[in-house]
Amino acid sequence: MIENVDLALVDWSRAQFALTAIYHWIFVPLTLGLSFILAIMETIYVKTGNEEWRSHMKFWMTLFGINFAIGVATGIILEFEFGTNWSNYSWFVGDIFGAPLAIEGILAFFLESTFIAVMFFGWNKVSKRFHLLSTWLVAIGSNLSALWILVANGWMQNPVGMTFNPETARNEMVSFWAVLFNQAAVDKFLHTLSSSYLLASMFVLSISAWFLLRRRHELMAKRSILVAGVFGLLSAFMTAYTGDESARTVAKVQPVKFAAMEALADGKNNAGLVAFGILKKSEDKIGERTMPEFVFKIEIPGLLSVLTSGNNEAYVAGIKDHINGNPSKGILSVPDKVQRGKFALGVLTDYKRARMIDDKVQIETIKGIFNEKEFQQGYFRYFGYSAVKNPEDVIPNVPVSFYSFHLMVILGFAFIFLFAMALYYLFRGTMEKNRWFLWIALLSLPLPYIASQLGWVLAEMGRQPWIIQDLMHVNQGVSQITTGSVFTTFILFAVLFTVLLISEISIMVRQIKTGPKH
């Protein structure tokens, strides 16, 4: 589709989007989770009439406000960067992607922004119950905001519910419900939300632990640990469960990503699940790409086969199966897919040519081809492969996929223990005596942030080279502007976001040191 792709332009456009997304995602999970923690605390205040709970809630609300502002600031850039930096992609998917985004604006953003004003400024102006309702609506609104953008992201991982229209040269939605209930979208939504609740709970736990270590505001700290401990433990279980579901879906709809995140070069029966491993370069090559091998690994035999197929003898396809093809397992090779993608592109080009010379018979014939299920399923679904030069180019970065996945999982399990221990010491009344635990809780603050970012690194880098799985190569989606322009804005945003982050952390630390005002 694009004849001469400037790879530096693609790289800088990707870098800019990644930069914005990473910064955005530093703030958003805390907003998503902390909003519910605020709502829970205020509910206790309204139920019990205990003013202390209101004071606790207001302390966390101040931190919420600081974090929320910068999340909003980075969010607007993300929305518009689809257009500024990925305009070809925006057109190609606009008919599907746009609807969730518009609904998000109408349904969620206004809910969130309207009631956040009541939450912050309405304390002495509206009734207790209306204020409480507003706080819950902020939580629901911010979580709904996440729904639609994650539906869009789910679609990029597993495009469904659409058909390609050769006339407009884009994908058009044919089933809203298929897009909404796309398995990849449902998994992504639930996993993202539960992990964000976990992150916010850890934020509250860590800061409360600091108060206990300093022997300040001990009542607030313990009550906050109670709320965060229960919410965090439930969320940590939910995160583990939804993570497992997500991995199964990836195995089905993005098998190359799945093989990469397991660092499984060769397919096998009775495949083991690597709980932890260290990779090194090997002599083994696929085309020009060197495959890593394990220096060391802790493996649970047969478990990967069980998890993917429910049977420990089942075959789990490796990267090589997906590149070279494995007819006995019904897997097409990349060259096969490239051929099919090129065929689909040829049909589209023929259509455009027929349009130009107004060849009505040819136009109708080709429209008919596009309506055939066999063409859509067997050829057009590999449309993006028409831009693939070497078969090995469809392999995502294996070490990045492997380590981001495994570190995330290890951390995910650690959080379950951490929250469980927090609740154990709290109920035993021995929290303050176990200062070592308070230190661990405090120092664990960055960990859920790291785990959450790793999740996105896996989701997005693991999808490469696709901007839309199999349908559109990342090189095809980029806006045709100069590399210099994108490089300049990358630097501008990098400096701005970094300065704002430093300012945010500095304000946050000061507010925490000051503690609750009332």
Partner: protein, 376 residues
């Protein structure tokens, strides 16, 4: 019984919704207008704090409306989204940049240890307050004056100047609308201050300042409107979609759609009445007239840009690449799905209104600024 809804109807329906969002955005930019006044209008720090807080309680409405405007444009006319954002790169990036620094400025400005200092965050507010309306107005003016882009057969955009959108500021007509929007935002900002802050000194100065902002507004606005009525426009043949240059196109559009003309004139009268009544009487309600007037006038401008066989995003370098509401829209299915969602908009407006009243029932006072309850 199923009701047949045509693609054409939905394209028009969504153009109206996008236009309504745009017109509310211009009104809500009173927040930006107020921000642009923080270094000149107040006499002391306390007055500045009051202006910042009055605007700060509303900034999210404006911000959210901008985000929803972008989202709705993406959803209903994705080819515009892809073409304009991916082509006029620098204009949109500049606009975005100014909104990013706004979002943090309110929350961070008066917080201890904010690293950059209050002055820097106030400068951020000023930059957003001045540059935001100016650039948005300038960008919207290209809906009438055209841009330099072309689309290939796969509908992929190529911008034909090396300035990637910044060339729009070289046209005085574009700039005139930009300045008109800027001064209108400042007028609405002043009227909002008069309406919502209970401080004689500040409201007195605001009334005076109103005149100094109304004059340049009128000059730029009249220049833009007169040049619009006299200029050639971009007509799109409904049956074939072929775009041609038509003399007095926008004047023709007003005459062909008298209701739109009435909306426009009512808007202009509303704007002027709100300004005049505030200058010459003691009323504090000018904002409602000028605000409503702004909404109506902008709505009418958007309607003549998109309706009556007009290209709303014309290309001056390749006429046939020009965008109309027909060739740039989403599919029938998507527009219909979105229409069902749009039925909740009245409900959204209702709760926004309710919440707005609940929080700003009383005018802001000096005492409130000293109360320590979440002050920006």
């Amino acid at each position: 019984m199923t009701i047949m809804i045509s693609h054409l109807f939905l394209q028009q329906y969504w153009w109206i919704i996008v236009s309504v969002l745009a017109s509310f955005l211009v009104f809500l930019m009173f927040v930006q207008g107020g921000q642009s006044l923080i270094f000149t209008l107040p006499r002391n720090e306390l007055q500045k704090t009051m202006i910042v807080n009055a605007m700060g309680r509303k900034w999210e409405f404006t911000f959210t409306t901008l985000v929803t405007f972008g989202g709705a444009f993406f959803a209903s006319f994705p080819l515009f989204y892809a073409t304009s954002f991916g082509g006029a790169y620098w204009v949109w990036i500049a606009i975005l940049f100014s909104f990013v620094i706004q979002a943090v400025a309110y929350e961070f400005r008066s917080k201890p240890n904010n690293v950059l200092g209050q002055r820097t965050f106030d400068v951020f507010l000023f930059i957003n307050g001045s540059l935001g309306p100016l650039l948005i107005g300038t960008a919207v003016a290209t809906f009438f004056t055209g841009s330099n882009f072309s689309l290939n057969k796969m509908n992929q955009v190529r911008w034909d100047t090396a300035w990637y959108g910044l060339e729009a500021v070289l046209s005085f007509r574009n700039l005139a609308l930009g300045f008109a929007v800027l001064f209108l935002s400042r007028i609405n900002g002043l009227l909002y201050i008069i309406n919502s802050i209970d401080d004689e000194g500040l409201t007195g100065r605001s009334r005076k300042s109103l005149l100094y902002n109304a004059v340049p507004f009128l000059v730029f606005f009249l220049f833009f409107v007169i040049s619009l009525l006299l200029s050639t426009g971009f007509a799109a043949e409904p049956a074939t979609g072929v775009v041609t240059i038509e003399k007095f196109k926008y004047l023709h559009n007003f005459l062909a759609m008298p209701l739109v003309l009435i909306i426009f004139l009512a808007g202009v009268v509303g704007v002027l009445y709100g300004i005049g009544s505030t200058i010459f009487t003691k009323t504090i309600n000018g904002i409602w007239f000028t605000g409503t007037g702004s909404i109506l006038a902008v709505l009418a401008l958007f309607l003549i840009a998109g309706f009556n066989g007009t290209s709303f995003y014309p290309s001056s370098s390749d006429l046939q690449s020009s965008l109309t509401i027909h060739n740039s829209s989403s599919s029938l299915f998507t527009l219909k799905a979105m229409m069902y969602v749009s039925f909740i908009i009245p409900f959204v407006l209702a709760y926004m209104w309710f919440a707005w009243k609940a929080v700003s029932g009383k005018r802001m006072t000096e005492d409130e600024m000293k109360s320590g309850e979440h002050i920006y």
